[in-house]
Structures are given as structure tokens and as C-alpha cells.
């Protein structure tokens, strides 16, 4: 059999890459081997376009126990406890089949975390859809949200935070990024190493079917109109099996017989076996006849490339197999010894007694192609930056605020998060609806605070500063609950990397995120890259989603974003030059994205967050809410809703549009008791952090200077009902 140029192309391999394969193995590959190369060298698995830039991320720090390179990153939270977390995309599958695509996305990220030995304690997600009026949007939103809930709820992991935004740039390419946070004792961390020559390799979990064969290469294909018709074998999630797999794996880990373990994610059996052998510098010999399958007549190619869900691969101490098999029997899951660790650094796969694969492990896993793709600043960007962010003039500020509160990107997300079990596990201290979720670490007085963020309009107008803003805002959200941001995970969603302007956006965004990470002391410990997010030739906005995890040493000292009681003093902490470039105001009023995003002073940001945390830890604050999209008017309104408390705010500004709706980093609305005000201001002054007393909580209305005077109930009504404009009335 000879490999044809067509086969090479349909496997997404370039002629150069194919020559490289020939050179590496010194012969023509079998079809199965070609399939293996194609998935291992796909963008999704090899990061061939992104890797050289990802090196810029700071990844170290005394708190980091595991940085990028494993299934999830891990940070130290003291007392022998640690937190494992990661974020991952499932964009393309979710566009094709929103429910199953999103569900299996959640399943995949859960496995990445529990394969490290961590019990998942929280799920988050970051979603991007097209315009609310686009004919596909409502259907996609309904399916994706139901799918995320359907999976996470069944597994019993609370979904505690997330974000959802709408913009025309996602009309033909939605984003579904899912994140899981897990708790693990530091001496019980597992890693994906196939160590110990002679140790058996065990396959556990669901049987293998013909699901999603070529999923990994699909994720690296540009969508075109025809793919609406393309109906690849969609993977269906089985959260029931996932829950059993989770419990069985954690129980099996307790036996002490497991040497290494890894989930089968994209590229299934292929990537898990190659990655485990590669990390350990070993080889594996595997017999595919031993792999549990659910369809007769599966070929070696199909068995190696299937993306059936809810499966894991583990290496076990020789002689102790039965202890592991017993655990899986108890949980009524398949488990089968499929191979053994070898010392020759080769992957040998046997099917029906014949050797169908014999490849060197290291070149496949480590020496995948690496591209420094050309980069060029888009020629349209300067003109866009120099254009006016807003074109019309405005005056009726009350009406505008009402309209803003009910708009798709600012209105209440209750429709979404009420479909998620937010409190299973009985540890969710702060539910969705505040700046970050707070989840107690069971049996301790510690808690983690976590949030996801991305301002993709800023990233579009300026990928560097947009990236920096995104990281800063995410960390700020975590600080707003009182927690110290420890580390971040990311999911870099971009267009086609073969286009220089996309690669430029990528490089700039990574640089911006990296610099903000350094300044704020928040290293990146895990992440994921999703490229080729384009439809009919146009790319999404650069969307480098960030998830931050922070630590509250004493969970009793935390606050939420909601005003607490009448008479409390409202203070604006921090502050910066404001801008309407890329603002929500410009978008709501004019559907316009132009100008420059606000400047960000990272030193100031750091000091503002530090001071905020110090005050919360001392119990001096009653609430804290960061001012982000929509500016201060929107942020103040949000503070009012939960407890239905108004406020009287005396803000002075020359230009109400900028003053009310201008955006800028490093701003936080806090409240405190009247008698702590003087001390706080003295302290802020000493620390060089701007702080401005701006008003008092109370009354039925939100009043802001001379410009705004609206009933809180009216604002809340718009805000509560806004989402029905996206998904329709119930």
C-alpha cells in the first residue's frame, strides 16, 4: 500500500511535514501511522504555531507545584493542600452540535483535572456567541448552556462562574471554553508518566467506538459554508460514566498501585500513550485486540484515533493489576490490560497479531514541527485606533442606563446559571452573580475564589493591552472577594495562524497577558490554544480567555459585590484615565468598535488590588465590585440589585458620557461603615492609592450626580428581563 498525496492532504499534513515523516522513520508510514502523525502534529496537539510564543508566559513562582506540560497546572494553598486547574476549548464541536459539543467539552476538562488526582470542586465556562439577532444564536445558546449543565450537574460538580458575550464576529464560530478547578493533597498528586519497564498499561472507562475520528484535525480546520453540511461523527457525552470514572479513579489512586495516569482527550489512545511514554522516556507495546470496543470490525486506525469520551489510560505497578481491576469492577466499568511499558523508546502496536505501528516516541511527541509563522500588524488597525469611539451625541442618561442594563452583554445571566447546579457539594460560598465565585475547601477554613474573563473588543483594538486588561481584570475579580490571585490558566482563541495579522494578534496578546502576569505575580500554569476560529474568511476577535484561581486563607473574611445596608459609605478605589474605545456604551448605542482601549497602569493595578485585599482581610469592607464593561454607572447599578438598595452618588464630571460609561482599569467600588472611612482614606493616601468618597447606600433610587436618577426596581426589571431578547420569552 502506498500513501497518496490526497491522503496526506486529507490528514492535514503539508508536503514538507510528510517528507519529515519519511526522514524520521526511514520508510513509508502505514495508514495508521499516518493517522497518528496527523493527530500528533495537528495544531491542537502539537501547538506548532503557538509554542514559540507561549514560552513568553511566566510559569514559575513559589506557589507553583506544576506548571504547563501536564494535564493541569497545580498551585500550593498551604497545609499540604493544592489546587489543580485548567481551561480548554470545544468551539468547533459545539457549533456543529451545541449540546453534545459543550457537554463533552466539560467532560474533557474534568478528566484533565481528576487525572492529576484532584477532586473537581468547581466548573467555570466562558462563552461567545454571534449577535443576538442572528438566526442561529438562540439555538446555539440554548444547546450549549443545556449541555454544560447536563454534564456538570450529573457529575456533581458545581458550575460557579463564567461569562457569556455576544458579538457579530462570532456569528459563524462560537467559543465554548470550559474550566475545572480541583482539590488535591500535595502528596497525592498523579502525573502522566509511563514509567517502569515491564509495568502493565491499563485501559479504563467507556468502550471505544467510531466517535469523532479526526476530531483533533477537525479542530484545526477552517470552517467554511460547506461545514454546515459536514456532519462528522459527533461525540456523545456520557456524564454518568464520567461520574463513575471519577470515583473509580480516585479510589484506584488510593491503592498506591498507579504509577502514571492520563485521560484520553483529543486523539484518544494515540496522544495518551505517546505523551505518557514521552514524558517518561520509555516505550509502550500495546495490543489493540485487548481494547474494549463497542462496534465490531474496528480497524487499528479507528481504534487509535477514536475520540470516544470517558476513557483513561494508566500504568500500574507490575503485580498489582488485580487491585486496580477490582476497583473498576466495583464501579462496573471496563478495565483491560492492553500493553506494557518497554525500554526501547518505541510505540509498538499490534492488531490481530500483526504489527501495525512501530514508531519512535520522542520525535512524534517532542519533535513535532515548530513554526515561527510570519506576523504583521493589520494595515487597518491604525485607522481604526484613530477613529472616534463614539459618533453621536447623547443626553437622556436615565433612558440610556436603562437600555444598557437590559442589553445582551450586560443583563442578568440568571437564565444561564440557573441551569447549572451551583451548590452541589455544599461548599459554594459565593454563587454566580458576584465578581468571583468562592468555594470552600472542604473541611478547612480556606476557600478558593475563581473567575474567567476576556475583553475581546479591547484585544481587537489592541491585542497587547487587551491581553493585559484581560489578565488584570480577571485577577481583580478574584481580589474583589478578598482572595489573593495565585495563578492563571488560559484559552487562546484566535483565527487562522497562517495569516500574518492573526499571528501578530496572537504574539501581541500573549505578550500583554505575560507582562500583566509578571507585574501582578500571577504565573500561567496551564492552558490551551484554539486556532482557525474563522468562518467564511473572517476571524473572530482575538479572544485570549483567562481563568484565575486565588486563595482566601480565612473564608469568613470575604465580601461580595452587593451593597449591604442603608447608610454604608461608597468609595471609588483606584482610578485611571477613561476611554470609550471598545466600550460597551459604544457597542450598545452604535454597534461600534473603534478607538483605543483604556490605558492600564499595572503598578497601580497591583497596589489597588493589594490594598483592597488587605482591607477585606481586616474585615473593614462590606462589599467590593470592580468597574468594567459599561463603566461606573453600570457597576453601581449592579451593586444595587441583590439587596434592592439604592444609592446617592456625588460624582463630578464634565462629560457625562465619559464619566458614566467610560471604561478604565484599576477601579473598584467598595463600601464600608461610616466610622471606618477616615482610617481607610489615611491608609490609602499612605499607600499612594487614589480613593474617592462618592456616596451613600440607601433609598429606592440610584442617583448619580445630576445625570442619573432612576428607580432601582426599574433598572432591575430591565436587567432581569434582558436575556429573553436573546433566547426568547419562556
Amino acid at each position: 500500500m502506498t500513501i497518496t498525496p490526497d491522503q496526506i492532504a486529507s490528514h492535514g499534513l503539508s508536503p514538507d511535514e510528510y517528507s519529515r515523516i519519511l526522514e524520521l522513520i526511514g520508510r513509508e508510514p502505514t495508514l495508521t501511522e499516518l493517522g497518528i502523525f496527523s493527530v500528533m502534529w495537528s495544531e491542537h496537539c502539537s501547538y506548532k504555531s503557538s509554542r514559540i510564543h507561549l514560552k513568553n508566559f511566566p510559569t514559575k513562582g513559589p506557589q507553583v507545584l506544576q506548571g504547563p506540560g501536564e494535564n493541569a497546572g497545580i498551585v500550593d494553598i498551604g497545609d499540604g493542600d493544592a489546587i489543580a486547574f485548567k481551561m480548554e476549548s470545544h468551539n468547533h464541536p459545539s457549533y456543529i452540535e451545541p449540546y453534545q459539543g459543550a457537554a463533552t467539552g466539560v467532560g474533557g476538562i474534568l478528566r484533565d483535572v481528576f487525572t492529576m488526582g484532584a477532586r473537581p470542586i468547581a466548573n467555570l465556562n466562558s462563552l461567545r456567541f454571534g449577535e443576538p439577532s442572528h438566526p442561529k444564536t438562540a439555538h446555539l445558546v440554548r444547546g450549549v448552556v443545556a449541555g454544560i449543565g447536563g454534564y456538570g450537574n450529573c457529575v456533581g460538580v458545581p458550575t460557579v462562574a463564567g461569562e457569556i458575550y455576544f458579538d457579530a464576529c462570532y456569528n459563524g464560530n462560537i467559543l465554548v471554553n470550559a474550566m475545572t478547578v480541583g482539590h488535591v493533597r500535595q502528596d497525592e498528586i498523579f502525573r502522566g508518566f509511563a514509567s517502569g519497564v515491564g509495568n502493565p498499561v491499563i485501559y479504563v472507562g467507556s468502550k471505544t467506538g467510531r466517535d469523532g475520528i479526526h476530531g483533533a484535525t477537525m479542530a484545526s480546520d477552517v470552517f467554511d459554508d460547506a461545514s454546515d453540511e459536514k456532519r462528522p461523527t459527533v461525540q456523545v457525552g456520557d456524564p454518568f460514566t464520567e461520574k463513575l470514572l471519577l470515583e473509580a479513579c480516585i479510589e484506584a489512586m488510593k491503592t498506591g498501585a498507579i504509577v502514571g495516569i492520563q485521560d484520553m482527550g483529543a486523539a484518544g489512545l494515540t496522544s495518551s500513550s505517546f505523551e505518557m511514554a514521552s514524558r517518561a522516556g520509555t516505550g509502550i507495546v500495546m495490543d489493540l485486540d485487548k481494547v474494549p470496543n463497542r462496534e465490531p470490525g474496528m480497524t487499528a486506525y479507528e481504534l487509535m484515533l477514536s475520540e470516544s469520551q470517558e476513557r483513561m489510560l494508566m500504568v500500574v505497578t507490575k503485580g498489582r493489576e488485580s487491585e486496580i481491576l477490582e476497583v473498576f469492577e466495583k464501579w462496573e466499568l471496563d478495565a483491560s490490560i492492553v500493553g506494557e511499558v518497554t525500554n526501547d523508546g518505541r510505540m509498538k502496536i499490534i492488531h490481530h497479531g500483526e504489527a501495525v505501528v512501530d514508531l519512535p516516541v520522542a520525535p512524534l511527541a517532542d519533535a513535532a514541527p515548530l513554526y515561527d509563522r510570519p506576523r504583521q500588524k493589520p494595515e487597518w488597525l491604525d485607522a481604526l485606533n484613530n477613529a472616534a469611539p463614539v459618533q453621536k451625541t447623547y443626553s437622556d442618561w436615565n433612558a440610556i442606563l436603562l437600555q444598557m442594563m437590559g442589553s445582551a452583554n450586560l443583563c442578568s445571566r440568571a437564565w444561564v446559571y440557573e441551569q447549572y447546579d451551583q451548590s452541589v457539594g455544599a461548599n459554594t460560598v459565593t454563587l454566580p452573580g458576584s465578581d468571583s465565585a468562592v468555594v470552600r475547601v472542604d473541611g478547612t477554613k480556606k476557600a478558593v475564589a475563581t473567575a474567567v474573563d476576556c475583553n475581546s473588543r479591547y484585544c481587537y483594538l489592541d491585542p497587547y493591552w487587551g491581553g493585559a486588561h484581560t489578565l488584570a481584570e480577571c485577577a481583580r475579580n478574584v481580589s474583589c472577594s478578598g482572595a489573593l490571585p495565585l495563578a492563571a490558566t488560559d484559552c487562546l482563541n484566535f483565527g487562522n495562524p497562517e495569516r500574518p495579522e492573526i499571528m501578530w494578534q496572537f504574539e501581541r496578546a500573549v505578550a500583554g497577558v505575560s507582562d500583566a502576569c509578571r507585574e501582578l505575580n500571577v504565573p500561567i500554569v496551564s492552558g490551551n490554544v484554539s486556532l482557525y476560529n474563522e468562518s467564511v474568511g473572517s476571524a473572530i476577535y482575538p479572544t485570549p480567555t483567562i481563568g484565575v484561581v486565588g486563595l482566601l486563607k480565612d473564608v469568613s473574611r470575604h465580601v461580595t459585590s452587593h451593597f449591604q445596608k442603608k447608610g454604608d459609605v461608597v468609595i471609588l478605589l483606584g482610578g485611571n484615565e477613561l476611554s470609550l474605545g471598545g466600550s460597551e456604551f459604544a457597542w450598545v448605542m452604535e454597534k461600534r468598535v473603534a478607538g483605543r482601549p483604556p490605558v492600564l497602569d499595572l503598578k497601580l493595578e497591583k497596589n489597588v488590588q493589594a490594598l483592597l485585599r488587605e482591607w477585606i482581610a481586616q474585615g473593614k469592607l462590606l462589599s467590593a465590585h470592580d468597574v468594567s464593561d459599561g463603566g461606573i454607572a453600570v457597576a453601581l447599578a449592579e451593586c444595587c440589585f441583590k439587596n434592592e438598595l439604592g444609592a446617592q452618588i456625588e460624582l463630578k464630571f464634565d462629560d457625562p458620557m465619559m464619566g458614566l460609561f467610560g471604561e478604565g482599569g484599576s477601579r473598584i467600588i467598595i463600601t464600608c461603615e461610616r466610622d471606618s472611612v477616615t482610617k481607610l482614606f489615611d491608609h490609602a493616601k499612605k499607600m499612594g492609592v487614589p480613593a474617592l468618597p462618592v456616596g451613600i447606600v440607601g433609598g429606592t433610587h440610584l442617583k448619580i450626580g445630576k445625570s442619573i436618577n432612576v428607580e432601582v426596581a426599574a433598572l432591575k426589571h430591565e436587567w432581569s428581563n434582558g436575556f429573553s431578547n436573546v433566547v426568547g420569552k419562556e
Partner: protein, 78 residues
């Protein structure tokens, strides 16, 4: 008139529900069960229409809502 619609998962698509039910039947003593697949059976009541018209209409309903044609097939009986 009554249109009957049978919605089943396409060949090769995992049926977690059928799998779990098959397993449960086994533990309940029905060891002979080899496989279980679970689909939907939908009855749609319509005003009387010529058969071909009705069929076309119900087909539209299937494509639009009743079946998820990415993973499911359907069959209509009138």
C-alpha cells in the same frame, strides 16, 4: 389525524441511556439482553390533510425541532 414519529440515534452514535438500561436489565436477571437502544416515539395530532402534504409538514417539523439530525434519524408514519 395522527402522525407518528420515531426518532433514533444514528448508527455508531453512542447511546449512553441504552447502555445503562441494558446493563441494568442484565443485573435484574435478563442476562439474554444483547443490546438496548433508546429513541423517542412522538405523536403529533394534526387536522386532516392529504397524506403527502401532512408528510411534508411533519418532515419539516422533524428537521426543525423534533430530531437532532446531526446525531439522530427519524421515520414518519401516517
Amino acid at each position: 389525524m395522527l402522525a407518528k414519529v420515531y426518532v433514533t440515534l444514528k448508527q455508531g452514535v453512542l447511546d449512553p441511556q441504552g447502555k445503562a438500561v441494558g446493563h441494568a436489565l442484565g443485573t435484574l436477571g435478563f442476562k439474554e439482553v444483547e443490546d438496548v437502544r433508546i429513541g423517542k416515539y412522538i405523536e403529533v395530532t394534526l387536522p386532516d390533510l392529504p397524506k403527502d402534504k401532512a408528510e411534508a409538514r411533519v418532515k419539516e417539523m422533524c428537521e426543525g425541532l423534533l430530531a437532532n439530525t446531526v446525531i439522530e434519524s427519524y421515520r414518519i408514519e401516517l
